[in-house]
Symmetry: C2
């Protein structure tokens, strides 16, 4: 009954991890409307993930849904009859999905202030429960949407996995079950969650922090952030003069500079006012760029683009590498060492 | 970033565990109707758990709901405004809820045969995904129902916790997060789940097996099974001649005998045809009695009764111990050593 923890933690992935995909809360939920999915974007992202991650020889196979549960307002229970003995299994390259919270969890977390800890207070304790209910509801919806596209997804809540923070950074995260899940050819779906914290009893572990941690330890080929705008701009993207920054280089110390477009006539790095999305509950854009830079520093390319567009499909398929094509809209953040 | 696993596993509970409560699938869902909650029973059980487990000094406190999410067909979002600074926190004795699947998960698991393993087959792989979607949906509903009664519940899926089986028995289950959760004064809500299996790649870990394992390691004062009949009968409870077995003794070797009523004029032990409920997807009644006997053998009293009745409230409150009152309907399964 006891665990040989060292052996399990040392577990290696059978196949290299192709990528980690962040589904931004701003893309998959409707901002400003509490706990409302953006079903159209979610369906589109799920379909693109299927097209991009399926092994080439499987491209012609029929979608056979794996969500056999009832759905409110929908007819038909399941695609179970599609599974006949001997039919081919869809083969996916290993990838991990991490999603944000968007309009799920935000209300509960901000009302109760659980990012500051304080579980001895009734409001924080209730907020911890309420936040987890909200974010796990969203996780279930995303697992279901991906499963309907034939992607063998399993939800894994960081809280249940026993992960904990030390002031928003990961203090402890056992990856053994995640690795076993990938080795069994399932796709794990993780999310930003309320967790225990070593210094302040509880906190919010954001999806972005999870991704940085997983990228460090599992070394994916690339990391993709799908959001509701095309990438990082030199000023708020709602501003008609905003310029999309298409390539950002990160040096070994984590400093970053814009390579493309040439910003000679614009604000220089350091005064660039960076925006990806206004709807960000866990730290704002500065944090987001810093997380991306930390990943790029490891030699792992990071791409940010708009969910559900031809640009997201191309980057998911791995077509955007080396030189960034002129007709691709998005931001690539890469190690300067690598791009030289 | 690494874990001192020994230290974490050695974590002790700050307060002794009062009980483990099984919410039987047959009680909290509508049999024969796929994925339908028995909302009335679930609400009643939640309210009884609140009344029974709350510390006495808190009995007069108002119920302040912790489910602040939207509910289909219901008005109002939240009880968040009930939480004012300085208001008293409800104090609960530590307990654990484990629920079965009932009409959730059953269809998906039986269609795909995942209790027999075989993840290399597309049907089993899809069934694993579909089963987890269904049982985690139910878990979310139960967490929410309990949270609405002011019980600070957190859902913990055995799969996400990294628990695994070896042919239906638990092969590995790290309890550190569960213990931390109890120590932080939350109530964990676990469930029967599809998990990885050491011998046959995957299996179903039933709620009953989880309970036996937790009882062995965490030594609760008592264990309660809430189901849709009053307890164990000498023949199918639908039979008008069925007699409720009120006390069963278990000896050190795990053999059990009926103490009350006196079965001299009835079928003797060994020929007694035992039934609790016909709606049992994970092993039938024989398994259930054996699990209860295994727990009782440890000196932990086990009670089986009907959910949402005055009998379930009494046993939850801890009123049924020593001699079983004549007006209590249920089955007590206890160590013969202890009852002497």
């Amino acid at each position: 009954m006891t665990k040989n923890s060292v052996t399990k933690n040392d577990l290696v992935l059978k196949k290299p991890l192709r990528c980690i995909v962040k589904l931004g809360g701003a893309a998959i939920t409707v901002k400003n409307e509490m706990e409302k999915l953006n079903e159209q974007i979610l369906q589109s992202v799920s379909s693109q993930l299927r097209q991009a991650m399926i092994e080439e020889k499987m491209a012609g196979e029929k979608v056979r849904g794996m969500d056999w549960s009832r759905r409110i307002g929908k007819t038909g229970v399941s695609d179970v009859d599609d599974f006949k003995e001997g039919s081919a299994d869809l083969q996916f390259d290993p990838f991990i999905v991490v999603h944000g919270a968007g309009s799920f969890g935000h209300f509960q977390a901000s009302k109760s202030g659980i990012h500051r800890g304080g579980l001895h207070k009734p409001l924080a304790k209730a907020g911890f429960v309420a936040t987890r209910i909200s974010v796990t509801s969203l996780n279930l919806e995303i697992v279901r949407a991906l499963a309907r596209e034939g992607i063998p997804t399993v939800g894994m809540s960081p809280f249940a996995c026993g992960w904990s923070t030390c002031k928003r950074n990961i203090a402890f995260a056992d990856l053994s079950q995640l690795k076993e899940t990938l080795n069994a050819e399932f796709i794990p779906v993780l999310h930003g969650d309320a967790v225990f914290d070593r210094l302040q009893d509880c906190s919010i572990l954001s999806g972005d922090v999870i991704i940085r941690h997983l990228a460090e330890l599992l070394k994916p080929d690339y990391v993709i952030f799908l959001t509701d705008v095309f990438g990082v701009y030199d000023r708020p993207p709602t501003n008609p003069d905003a310029v999309l920054l298409k390539e950002i280089d990160v040096d070994e110390t984590g400093n970053w500079s814009v390579v493309k477009p040439n910003l000679l006539d614009m604000n220089k790095h350091g005064t660039v006012e960076i925006r990806v999305s206004a709807h960000d509950t866990t730290g704002g854009m500065e944090t987001k760029i810093m997380e991306a830079a930390c990943i790029a520093k490891l030699g792992i390319d990071v791409y940010i683009t708009k969910a559900g567009t031809c640009h997201s499909l191309r980057v998911l398929k791995g077509e955007i590498n080396g030189n960034i094509p002129d007709d691709w809209l998005g931001t690539a953040i890469r190690s300067s060492k690598k791009s030289k």
